[in-house]
């Protein structure tokens, strides 16, 4: 059924006593359409509302209720299709996927089975290893994108013997994006999801929030001898962070290899990832697999899109991450690594462009990536929730460039800005961090340091390396505020170097 011609790089093979293995990975990503109302009803889709407060008669599967497709969602799917460089199907259709469960009031999910709205496409990813090394670009094929309804939420832990059901999510529009089995390492898989996330966020078709479950991945994993026959795959459901995706794949691949090497066979099954234990476990085996009895939903007409409709969407697409990355490299002269990180997400790229405006692009990039993104990572905050605006970061950089403060002091100022203590100027003023550039003041400090260390000063003439010691002493005396160039210059004069 699947073909997976690409063979992993030798460095990515898992080598055991029996020889090398490679991992074959394909992903099904569910991206919630950024729509105010559901796919087939007018109910709101807001996150975090009280249970069952965003449920219409249609969502609750009341007798005689009928779905009406939300055209906005259709538009978002087409947009996303273009973002995936994919074929837009002018004819598509909704099918019913039939199964019983408490969080599925109609007894079927409306999805697209035979005729998805988006067909084949491809995207390019750049995997980055744990040490930040950028690997070779990998092209990942997109099999299809289709629209479907989300189910409700079953809550099993509120009572020992009862299940509670929240239908708020029931009927929310999802785009299921199915990749071809083109990934070979956990890093490629997470880079793929990262890339998808960047694309949907750039397009505004999904907010990409993995914590809220608005973007989640089902990961298909199998192993084989490099270039050999494909193994049996397992599907790991609903993995909701980049780190978990890598963990789940690593665990699952190892599990497969262990079973095969012990002479066993892999059961094709659906598995769950336990993020606490870092392992996967059986959810349902192939024998328990449902026969979903797909058939065209007779309550809905097929979707027939006009060429002019899709052309208009295409003409109004925003700048995509790949295009933006190329522009960052050419216009700002940034290295590929910087450009890739900065353009992986629309809000990050927008932030950078504000910081870089009228400033040195590389310094702006360093401050944005190292200090700002670093602080975000450490705090777990989203960029949107940060107290430091791009303009504020830009002002801080200005203070370095105009010699008001040194780079080193600036890092401390940034920490305080990030903690919400004020703007760069306010903090510099409040804490008296302004760099001392007055030559007289510096000279006095230098004199004092030389006087205090007369013995060393004598030796300095023979041993110029001692200059560093004196610079350090003067900087210390000035609490880091003395202009380093000035200190150097005066010390050299006074020490006769």
């Amino acid at each position: 059924m699947f073909i997976a011609p690409r063979v992993a790089d030798e460095k990515d093979w898992i080598v055991t006593d029996t020889g090398p293995w490679e991992i074959i990975i394909g992903l099904e990503v569910h991206a919630q359409v950024a729509s105010k109302s559901k796919l087939f009803s007018g109910s709101a889709t807001g996150y975090g509302s009280a249970p069952n407060t965003q449920v219409s008669l249609v969502d609750a599967g009341m007798p005689g209720m009928l779905p009406v497709v939300n055209e906005f969602c259709i538009e978002q799917a087409v947009k996303t299709g273009y973002g995936l460089n994919a074929k837009i199907n002018l004819f598509s259709r909704f099918d019913r996927k039939n199964y019983f469960y408490v969080d599925l009031p109609q007894g079927y999910q409306i999805s697209q089975f035979e005729h998805p709205i988006v067909g084949e496409g491809e995207i390019e990813i750049l995997p980055i290893d744990g040490d930040g090394n950028v690997g070779e670009p990998v092209t990942v094929g997109i099999e299809r994108l289709h629209l479907e309804q989300d189910a409700g939420k079953s809550v099993h832990d509120l009572s020992p013997d009862e299940t509670y059901v929240d239908l708020n999510r029931c009927g929310v529009a999802l785009m299921e994006i199915v990749s071809k089995p083109d990934m070979r390492t956990p890093e490629e898989a997470s880079a793929y999801v990262e890339k998808l996330r960047g694309i949907v966020r750039a397009l505004g078709t999904c907010d990409g929030d993995m914590e809220k479950g608005n973007l989640r991945a089902d990961v298909n994993v199998s192993v084989r001898r490099p270039g050999g026959e494909l193994g049996t795959r397992c599907e790991i459901k609903n993995v909701n962070s980049m780190r978990f995706i890598r963990q789940a794949i690593n665990f699952e691949a190892r599990r497969h290899i262990d079973i095969i090497e012990a002479g066993g066979e892999i059961d094709q099954e659906t598995r769950l990832f336990d993020s606490v234990k870092g392992e996967t476990r059986t959810m349902r085996s192939k024998e328990d697999a449902h026969d979903y009895r797909y058939f065209p939903d007779p309550d809905l007409l097929p979707i027939k899109l006009e060429q002019s409709f899709v052309d208009k969407i295409k003409a109004n697409l925003p700048e995509m991450p790949d295009v933006r990355k190329a522009r960052f490299m050419s216009d700002y002269g940034l290295p590929e690594y910087d450009a890739r990180i900065l353009t992986s997400d629309k809000t990050k790229a927008d932030f950078y462009e504000v910081v870089a405006k009228g400033r040195d692009p590389k310094i702006a990039s360093n401050w944005t990536m190292v200090e700002f993104f670093g602080a975000l990572n450490k705090s777990g905050l989203e960029l949107e929730d940060s107290l430091v605006s791009a303009d504020a970061l830009g002002c801080l950089i200005d203070r370095i460039l105009d010699d008001t403060i040194s780079g080193k002091i600036a890092k401390g100022v940034f920490e305080k800005m990030f903690a919400g203590e004020g703007t760069a100027d306010e903090i510099i003023e409040r804490d008296g961090l302004k760099q001392v550039t007055d030559m007289g003041t510096i000279e006095a400090m230098v004199d004092k340091v030389i006087a205090d260390n007369a013995g060393q000063a004598e030796k300095a003439k023979e041993n110029p390396k001692l200059l560093g010691f004196f610079v350090g002493q003067v900087m210390k005396a000035s609490q880091g505020k003395a202009n380093p160039q000035a200190v150097n210059k005066i010390l050299r004069e006074k020490l006769g170097l």
Binding site: G64, V68, F100, Q106
Partner: protein, 488 residues
């Protein structure tokens, strides 16, 4: 005073317009008739108090100069239409005491036009049946009776029986494979299934979504036109609703059929057709000819595949549509030891034999490995049936056929033989599969004195021609027979 229940809908609307009687008087007369006719078991839920309130409100509206299309007319609503604040059962135990908080678009249209609702009419469970014997609320009895209890046909048996017995001036019904037209034929009433998409399906309990269509059962062709004008209309809440204006169909009734080409499909002359029915059909041809129509022999070659295709498509859709009755949110629930057992017990207890049979058939034909052989093939047949009619319309404007292959039969006679029962739909399913309008007009009595209907089929959206031809047929047939009131 004359017996107000003997009136036609149009006669009653005229009478109220002239001030001869009030809606309250008219409604009370029908309530009295309903109360005296419980033996027919036509209603599942009576709403007599509500009806009198509505009648009073209607009289007040009329006094203030506001008169809707159905102003003050006491009517019955098939218990498949959800009615706000009034229990809705679909003829099934599984809905329990389900009382909708919403009104179906069709009944809401009629309410807006001034309807008075007498109650919710009995039907085959989830509209699955041709004799009204699958209702969880007991069979409906046909007012036409010879020595033994006869079925009124189905699934709209309550609607047909109530109209035939003068319990209401008209009634809503639904038709998935013949459920309006076959009972109309069995009870000497008029029933029209309009073009698929004419009436919104919103708020009507679904049986088979691609085939279900609401329509009226009435005493005359004109009455059915008046009712359909109120029921029909575009509804954005139903994606399959057709966005088109509702014509003045009652004006079509009585127009000349001179020059109209009436097609006679040879495939409808089936083996084993009762002689009375063949004779009536021949008579119908003569009547239409006499009225100035041109008779054209036509061929609908895929007709024999229609019934099997129907009994694949309809159960397939039904098996999915009825999945929502799971005991979780409304209706009956029988708790088991776990979720699966709760589903099983609830649905076993809640659904009757025929509904369970169709869910099983539908589940089977959609299953992996069988889908292509059954469902897909049935859909291909459906395309051929549509094409058959398309070809026919090149040479004719309407088609004349019998409505059903038999007259009303005895209660219990076919209930144990599903295939015999399914054959009742043989002349009616084709229009459902093709989405075309079809009307049954009472045209005569069989040798036992039971009513028989003839069917007129028209082009999609061309109900006007259907009404025109039907009224001509009605006029020629001069069907005036009424059942004896043995049940009072």
């Amino acid at each position: 005073m004359t017996d107000l229940t003997k009136m036609t809908l149009s006669g009653a609307l005229d009478g109220m317009a002239k001030g001869e009687f009030s809606s309250v008087e008219l409604t009370q007369a029908h309530i009295d008739a309903c109360k005296a006719s419980t033996k027919l078991n036509a209603f599942i839920t009576d709403t007599h108090d509500l009806a009198l309130e509505q009648a009073k409100a209607s009289d007040a509206r009329r006094a203030s100069g506001t008169v809707g299309k159905l102003e003050g007319a006491p009517l019955g609503i098939k218990d498949l239409f959800c009615t706000e604040g009034v229990k809705t059962t679909a003829g099934s135990k599984i809905l329990g005491d389900f009382t909708p908080t919403y009104e179906s678009t069709v009944s809401a249209n009629m309410k807006a036009d001034g309807m008075v609702m007498l109650g919710k009419l009995n039907l085959d469970e989830f509209a699955m049946g041709s004799s009204n014997e699958t209702s969880a609320f007991g069979p409906v009895i046909n007012p036409w009776r010879k020595d033994e209890d006869l079925v009124p046909g189905g699934s709209s048996g309550g609607s047909a029986s109530a109209v035939a017995a003068d319990l209401c001036l008209g009634a809503t019904a639904t038709d998935t494979g013949g459920s309006i037209r076959q009972p109309a034929s069995f009870t000497g009433t008029v029933g029209i299934k309009p073009t698929y998409g004419r009436c919104s399906r919103w708020g009507t309990v679904a049986f088979a979504s691609s085939l279900d269509q609401a329509g009226p059962i009435a005493k005359t062709v004109k009455d059915s036109a008046i009712l359909l004008e109120s029921m029909a209309g575009y509804d954005a809440k139903d994606s399959t609703s057709i966005n088109a204006d509702v014509p003045d169909w009652s004006a079509s009734c009585g127009q000349s059929v001179k020059g109209m080409r009436i097609g006679i499909p040879k495939e409808y002359a089936i083996d084993g057709m009762p002689a009375d029915i063949q004779a009536l059909w021949d008579q119908g041809i003569e009547w239409m000819k006499a009225a100035g129509a041109e008779i054209v022999p036509i061929t609908l070659p895929h007709t024999k595949y229609a019934l099997p295709a129907y009994y694949v498509v309809a159960p397939a859709e039904a098996s999915s549509n009825l999945a929502r009755y799971d005991g979780m949110r409304y209706g009956l629930r029988v708790d088991g030891k776990d979720l699966t057992e709760t589903y099983e017990l609830t649905r076993t207890e809640g659904f009757g034999d025929e509904v369970r049979r169709r869910i099983m058939i539908g589940t089977y034909v959609l299953s992996a490995g069988y889908y292509d052989a059954y469902y897909l093939r049935a859909q291909k047949v459906r395309t051929r049936i549509v094409q058959d009619f398309e070809n026919a319309w090149e040479t004719c404007d309407a088609i004349l056929t019998p409505t059903a292959p038999s007259a009303a039969f005895a209660v219990g006679r076919k209930v144990s033989d599903p295939v015999q029962m399914y054959l009742n739909d043989i002349f009616t399913v084709t229009t459902n599969l093709a989405g075309l309008p079809g009307i049954s007009v009472p045209a005569g009595l069989d040798k036992n004195g039971l009513p028989l209907g003839l069917q007129i089929i028209g082009r999609a959206m061309d109900e006007a021609t259907v009404f025109k031809a039907a009224a001509a047929l009605e006029d020629a047939a001069g069907f005036k027979a009424k059942p004896e009131k043995w049940w009072v």
